[in-house]
């Protein structure tokens, strides 16, 4: 009891500042680890000697560095999207993927892959050139937006959370069926689709980093500016409206930011599970705060989570690699089981 009391006595601002410092430090450490982790496993010494002899440019500069940075950026987009979704839908279990954005994005990606394979272009996540990549980003973004819109339409707004999640499940099933239909018509798209569904940080190049950073730079400001609206939404829809918020506009802007973040992330890395769901949870656990803080900290936490998973995926069974999406799903699933267990105890 005394322990619980003394924990609760740590002032909020101190907890928030502490978490911010930890996230900054963790990001730094993980970025370095990302540069050092390669197909030979952990090799900080090799990294150091390569750096000193100036031959680090190819492996570190062209492969590890963009992959490391890209993993952090993609994770940040997922963490941000998760915090936005959970605030907007007033549900701590709202995963940005559960609301149709993932299935929408994957259907769109499959459509592009199928179209280009039918056209004999052979675009895939690994081989796509700059133009095809932009096409994939655009398609994934539009698909994510469409998926979320469809869910909102089916749920008649975001007021009833049960209805919303149910609608998200329905949209997910329907769009997944549609993309199965497409892949059965264009089997060449199947391999690309499978890689997409598993999620991978292996193909991240500098241009992918630019796209991810651009997505973050566009999605973060509106989300952060609307943080007070998300705070007001904790009072319920009527409560927020009674405070003068134009909810349709606010919701539209937040859904757009959410869909952009998800669309950009999944277009570069495929469907990486649970990062978006778990990151805001962790932030709320360590430093509960208004959304202005939660959004930023969730983005940083998401970045750290995905980068950590990426480093593990590269080095656990080196020179083989684990699919990073499988690792995040394992971690995320274990975290949720633990959460469930705690709740049952409480």
């Amino acid at each position: 009891m005394t322990i619980a009391l003394s924990l609760a006595a740590v002032p909020d601002w101190q907890r928030r500042r502490r978490l911010a410092w930890r996230l900054a430090l963790l990001t730094l450490v993980l970025l370095l680890a990302g540069l050092a982790a390669g197909s030979e496993g952990w090799s900080p010494l090799a990294l150091w000697s390569a750096w000193r002899h100036g031959d680090a440019t190819l492996i570190v500069g062209q492969i590890r560095a963009p992959r490391t940075l890209g993993a952090w950026l993609a994770g940040a987009l997922l963490g941000l999207a998760g915090a936005v979704a959970q605030g907007l839908f007033r549900n701590p279990l709202a995963d940005p993927y559960l609301l149709g954005s993932a299935s929408g994005a994957s259907l769109a990606v499959v459509l592009v892959l199928a179209a280009s394979s039918l056209a004999g272009d052979g675009a895939g996540l690994a081989t796509a050139g700059a133009v095809a990549r932009f096409g994939l980003v655009g398609a994934a973004f539009a698909g994510a937006l469409l998926g979320v819109m469809l869910t909102l339409l089916l749920a008649r707004g975001a007021e009833q959370t049960t209805r919303l999640l149910l609608a998200g499940v329905v949209v997910g099933v329907l769009l997944a069926a549609a993309s199965d239909l497409v892949t059965s018509a264009a089997p060449d798209a199947l391999r690309g689709k499978q890689a997409f569904m598993l999620g991978s940080t292996g193909f991240l190049s500098w241009s992918a980093c630019a796209v991810l950073a651009g997505g973050l730079a566009i999605a973060l400001p509106p989300a952060w500016w609307l943080a007070r609206a998300l705070d007001a939404l904790t009072l319920g829809e009527d409560g927020a409206r009674s405070l003068g918020l134009a909810l349709p506009r606010v919701r539209a802007a937040l859904v757009a930011a959410l869909a952009l973040a998800i669309g950009v992330a999944v277009s570069q890395t495929g469907l990486i599970a649970f990062v978006g769901l778990v990151a805001p949870h962790l932030v709320r656990r360590f430093a509960p705060a208004p959304h202005g803080y939660t959004l930023l900290a969730s983005a940083a936490t998401g970045g750290c989570l995905l980068l950590a998973a990426d480093v593990f995926a590269r080095s656990l069974i080196a020179p083989q690699e684990l699919p990073v999406g499988v690792l995040t799903a394992l971690f995320g699933g274990a975290y949720l089981v633990w959460l469930l267990h705690r709740r049952r105890l409480a």
Partner: protein
């Protein structure tokens, strides 16, 4: 600089209601929830009473601009309600709904601070005056002592007081409260009554839906609704109003004078 809303009221003619409904009709789905309701709310405390399903909450939501009316007109400080921009309206009408759907991790103080949103907008930083209003609201609703705790750590009654403080922090000339005494124990009910009287005396038009007739009869005026229609409106000590109340509740109550007050008593022999 935001204008001081209460000064606005004083500037308006004393007789003009702060909020006036004319021939208001509202449907919820296929049900007619309010039919042809005309009622004005002047500075002072008005209680809205009526049997379950009479349309009390709907009237309050419509007055707050949260529910659109099929017909009729609403005027806030003499100007049609729809003509007010969202934020300007929100700065002049504070609304407290029936609780049950608060979420999130905000502290008590952060929740009460949301009441300043209509004045600040989404971007402006709070001024010393905003902080002072928040402090006063926390104090008035008796939750200053635990302002750093979180909403989900509180009991129902404590949470109700926080949400009340949130509504007070808007510092609006019209204060709409839907069942504000829910979850409150008798001492806090009394504290609430005193608080509402103080606000009313300061020139605020306080309008509260109350199912507890004993509390409603402590208000200055009472509005009686039945099946979406206005049955009566009058001073709470008016015998004619009491007669309507007894009729509306099917003779299940008597209203008797005890000392200076009128008190409803369940009548068991019918």
């Amino acid at each position: 600089m935001t204008p001081t809303p209460i000064a606005e009221i004083a500037a308006a003619a004393d007789t003009a209601p702060a909020l006036q409904a004319d021939a208001l009709s509202v449907s919820l789905g296929r049900t007619r929830a309010l039919a042809d309701v005309s009622v004005g709310f002047t500075p002072g405390w008005t209680a809205i009473v009526g049997p379950n399903g009479a349309g009390k909450s709907t009237l309050l939501r419509t007055l707050a601009g949260l529910q659109t009316a099929d017909a009729g007109e609403l005027r806030l400080l003499g100007r049609p309600l729809q003509a007010w921009p969202d934020r300007a309206r929100a700065a002049r009408i504070a609304w407290l709904g029936q609780q049950g759907d608060t979420t999130g991790e905000l502290t008590v103080r952060e929740v009460v601070h949301l009441g300043r949103l209509p004045h600040l907008g989404l971007f402006a930083a709070p001024t010393a005056r905003d902080e002072a209003v928040v402090d006063a609201a926390l104090h008035d609703a008796e939750c200053a002592a635990w302002q750093d705790r979180r909403l989900h750590e509180l009991s129902g009654g404590e949470r109700q007081r926080v949400l009340l403080a949130r509504a007070l922090a808007v510092d609006a000339p019209v204060l709409l409260l839907d069942e504000p005494t829910t979850h409150l124990d008798p001492p806090h009910q009394v504290a609430l009554v005193m608080l509402l009287r103080r606000r009313a005396a300061a020139g605020v038009a306080v309008v509260s839906v109350l199912h507890d007739l004993a509390l409603a009869l402590l208000a200055d005026r009472v509005v009686v609704l039945e099946q979406g229609r206005l049955r009566a409106t009058g001073r709470s000590d008016d015998p004619a109003l009491h007669a309507v109340l007894i009729a509306v509740f099917g003779g299940a109550i008597r209203i008797e004078r005890i000392g200076e007050r009128w008190v409803p008593i369940a009548s068991l022999a019918r």
